[in-house]
Amino acid sequence: MTDPLYSILIAVIKAVIIFAVILQIVPLLVYFERKISAWIQDRIGPNRVGPIGLLQPLADVIKLAFKEDLTPQGADKWIYRLAPVLVYAPAVLAFTVIPVGIDLQVASFDVGVVFLLTISGFSVYGLAFGGWASNNKYSLLGGLRASAQMISYEVAMGLSIIAIMMTAETVDLNEIIRQQWGSGTLGLLEWNLFKQPIAAVVFIIAAFAETNRLPFDLAECEAELIGGFHTEYTGLKFATFFMGEYVAMITMSGLMVTLFLGGWSVPWVEIPTSPSMVDMALSIGFFSVKLFALLFFYIWIRWTLPRFRYDQLMGIGWKVFIPVSLVNLGLTAVAGVLGWKWLIPLP
């Protein structure tokens, strides 16, 4: 059992299964996004390909695969090819530390949160390189905006995670989840969403900026930048960018579920010490339900809000979120010293 080969094999199997599942969620998510946007806009949405349009994402992929693969003149070829991978890979890598079931993750680190932050920060290189290498002024502007935006929001995001680490007194994600489990009538209030409401709000909004989703998707705004950093990308390279964006969304939602919504645990349901297969499946189910709820929230926001102006984006980031999360850190410290569990002491 302790054979290193055996543990490597287990790790590989876990990795393959989890990656395969994420890759299956992406088309599903694209389908949901198209359907929900259609409902919001009083349309019908995709319903032609396959039963109730479920095969539409497949058709999209096939279409993209048959598109001509262009490299613009004067583009920096290697960086141009590298950029989509640099967006996609960190998003997938970051997912490895997110526990999807009871103690079930591809790579269990003691420093899960820190690793996640580091890795997800890498995707900015993909956007910046893509913008730079395409030899197109709009792409370059998109890339610049992406980097500025991600750097600013990473600060706020990091600060709100520090607040969580302070209340949890650990950086192990499974431990953080265990601490959010509660029994009794007020079990739900053990969630960090209620223990750390300010951090939660800041984190959720920063996550939108971090994944370049709509109210903050200035890097690819169609109106001024004709697609921004991916203007020049076609075919499967574009598809990789696209997938990267969606995987980043899944990863961020997974992280939010873990940090704020109690991860795979559910209040009132006892966490078994030696989980059986059924417990495992149930915990994965709880995680997925929460994950999809958050993904729905992402999509819902996207089709509700218009894009922010660039100065508004930066203003919110630097003048609101960073001070607010700093104050929150101070409050958390005080609460920690006083031994309060919640920032606002509950009766």
Binding site: A38, W39, I40, D42, I44, N47, W300, W303, T304, L305
Partner: protein, 161 residues
């Protein structure tokens, strides 16, 4: 005339909606309002669109689609080749060549009557101009073709529609 109901409130609302750019805007309330609104749409799910090729919309009366030339009771074309339609046509897409009419009640009839449907803007001016009520726009709107040449309708085609 009194304003239609609601117009005044709308005007007032617009006034309050324009904020002073120097004033700090708060996003919370508008964002929440927007989210509630879109959620209502998700839950209501009453699409305004239709499954087009399966379900066809009935055009409204007065819809301006493809043209046709009308015939009189004797089965002759009503058109007397007066060129008023081609003069009125803002897109210059009606081409008429006249010839002597073999009938006593009119001097001319068209030998050639071509309408270039690709240039036509479906404005209906030809129908307005025609003194003999000979040309008319039908509500037919789904008129695809594979070549441009097919879209130049000649007299036979227009009469047969």
């Amino acid at each position: 005339m009194a304003n239609p109901p609601g117009a005044r409130e709308e005007k007032q609302e617009r006034k309050t909606a324009t904020t002073d750019p120097r004033k700090k805007a708060s996003f919370t309330v508008p964002v929440a309002k927007g989210l509630i609104n879109t959620l209502k749409h998700i839950l209501r799910r009453e699409p305004n669109t239709i499954h087009y090729p399966d379900e066809k919309r009935t055009p409204y009366p007065g819809y301006r689609g493809e043209h046709r030339l009308k015939r009189d009771e004797l089965g002759r074309e009503k058109c007397v080749a007066c060129f008023l339609c081609s003069t009125a046509c803002p897109a210059h897409c009606i081409e008429i060549v006249a010839e002597e009419a073999p009938w006593d009640d009119r001097e001319k009839r068209p030998r050639l009557f071509n309408i270039d449907m690709m240039r036509c803007i479906y404005c209906g001016m030809c129908e307005e101009a025609c003194p003999c009520d000979a040309i008319e726009l039908t509500p037919v709107f789904n008129i695809p073709s594979r070549t441009r040449a097919e879209k130049i309708y000649d007299k036979e085609k227009l009469l047969s529609l």
